[in-house]
Symmetry: C2
Subunit: 363 residues, 2 copies
Amino acid sequence: MKKVEIVLSSLPMSGGDGPNSYSKNSHLQRRTTSLLKEAIDKLIIEKLDAKTLISGSNNTFRIADLGCATGPNTFFLVDDIIRSVETNLRRSKSTKPEFLVYFNDLPENDFNTLFTSLPRDGSYFAVGVPGSFYGHVLPRSSVHIVVTVAATHWLSSVPKDVVDKSSKAWNKGKVHYSNAAKEVVKAYENQFGRDMGKFLEARAKELVSGGLLVVGMCGIPKGMPFSNLADGIMYTSMAEVLIQMQSKGLITEEQVDTFNIPIYSPSPEEVTFLVEKNGCFTIESMELMNPAAWLKRPMNVEDVRQWMVCIKATMGSLFINHFGDHVLDEIFDRLTVKLVGLTEKIESSYREKLMMFFALKRK
Amino acid sequence: MKKVEIVLSSLPMSGGDGPNSYSKNSHLQRRTTSLLKEAIDKLIIEKLDAKTLISGSNNTFRIADLGCATGPNTFFLVDDIIRSVETNLRRSKSTKPEFLVYFNDLPENDFNTLFTSLPRDGSYFAVGVPGSFYGHVLPRSSVHIVVTVAATHWLSSVPKDVVDKSSKAWNKGKVHYSNAAKEVVKAYENQFGRDMGKFLEARAKELVSGGLLVVGMCGIPKGMPFSNLADGIMYTSMAEVLIQMQSKGLITEEQVDTFNIPIYSPSPEEVTFLVEKNGCFTIESMELMNPAAWLKRPMNVEDVRQWMVCIKATMGSLFINHFGDHVLDEIFDRLTVKLVGLTEKIESSYREKLMMFFALKRK
């Protein structure tokens, strides 16, 4: 049971509940969750043998949300899942179980905010689980449904090669694999493969036989370059902003060249390959969805501003950790201005099916 | 499964890990834990059928520490328990189980500090459970050993009557039932009875049959007045300090009269009565111990200072909540000076068997 030690350069979401916090600026993530609601509900009602699961488990149904951050999205998601499980159990005329919900995130996550904002209606027992989901965070066969939304596109770390000057994958002057050399793309892809491999291995141990693993994350159609996406345009602009700031002496070249955002969007085919390689799951669902309302078109200045507030709440700690907190606002102010000038280009970017939803059942 | 709503005037320990934090000033509690170590070890080895328990539980052994605060004492305690369970299982030639440890405290406890200081040796899975242990915090039959040290003498709230001007139990000008009217003592005693009743009821649900409930807390021999204790002298001095500060206009009379410390020391006979009333447990151990090294005699100025640093870390938030944080230091500075003048009296106080240890087995 030795836990995997992981150097995490992907930091937790901004804590607390202030105006710049994740808890106050995660409404885009909330929309994603709503979109998933229907798919998850259908899955739980049709594919889960809840009656058998609780009978082997003291009448307690256990759910884990991995990468829960500080709420409130995790609470909505958990409520939806519990309602679906209850519907499932009503149909099979089972006794109402007790629910135990494991809220997992990195140990550095702001669990204090999570815990003080937990719903207190007594509909479930809530516990917090500190630890990286790229390792085991719960005992063997201890959970019936694992869900993770908007979390598994975060890599466990920046691929080593992209910050190694001597490597062909050295990603000088860029912040992501979007628009980068093919070696950089490959380094990210490999890192994702290793991470998702560890993720599936850990979940295979933690889930009971017949349990479900439900994942909502960034995705991309097979073969499409990331630079076709609005986020691709954003990362390119981000690199330009950093280089501008470097030229003004606000940050160093070394800082710019070693900064990379550890986010990866796989295709359904990539994930399918990794699931089959793992061998412990059957695939119940694997699709790309359209996160429709994400960015309206035509896009106005306020849309860009809102988008950036969300990105800042989500990635802020990554910038603070690398550049210091004194330049965070300037980076995002400059980035917002730059993107406001690119709305036409962003509008014409591919923004259709960029949310991957997949559901696996533990054999 | 409706959770009991409890108005908590007993606040969590001081958070963080700074010089005034609980985590840096709980060495007196640590000594208490060491004293308990031997008793708990003996109990687990002799009274626990660990083999049967894990066989009905997926080979996972579950331990809960209720009122864990921020560490590090809870980590030592849990390590000791795990070692004892392992010894027990080795003797019965059982497979080594996985351990899951539930760390519980109030939702306002500093779980962030707890989680970032967790040992990362992978010897157990750690989860945090926010909630008052006077209600249910875990599902039915979900835990094998519950331990709680230095926590259950904290009442769920100040007894209502002691802050009610129209009641005979109104505790004007005092901060505790030590040296107070018999109605005040009775109000505290009743509150403890109700709280311990709820505590036992919740644990009876959460523990599996054959599971152990192990408690270390403040105690007192039957019939002894609290004023015979060093803590009694401290509470009397505390009230005097508050009245002095009131006369200087630093705090109000209303504030002084409504401030009471919700701590109660029961006798073994009181606890035995409550356990028998509950009916779900057998008593495996019930004794008063001597927390020997607590205060050395003869007592010097440094001993008093250390004692007060501990009390401040433990009770500080109670004072801050009631009087505001601007007077905290002054209260404790004055109290320290006063107690330094009373060392002779403190030395002659009863300080023998003031730690209660009891262990119950779920029928």
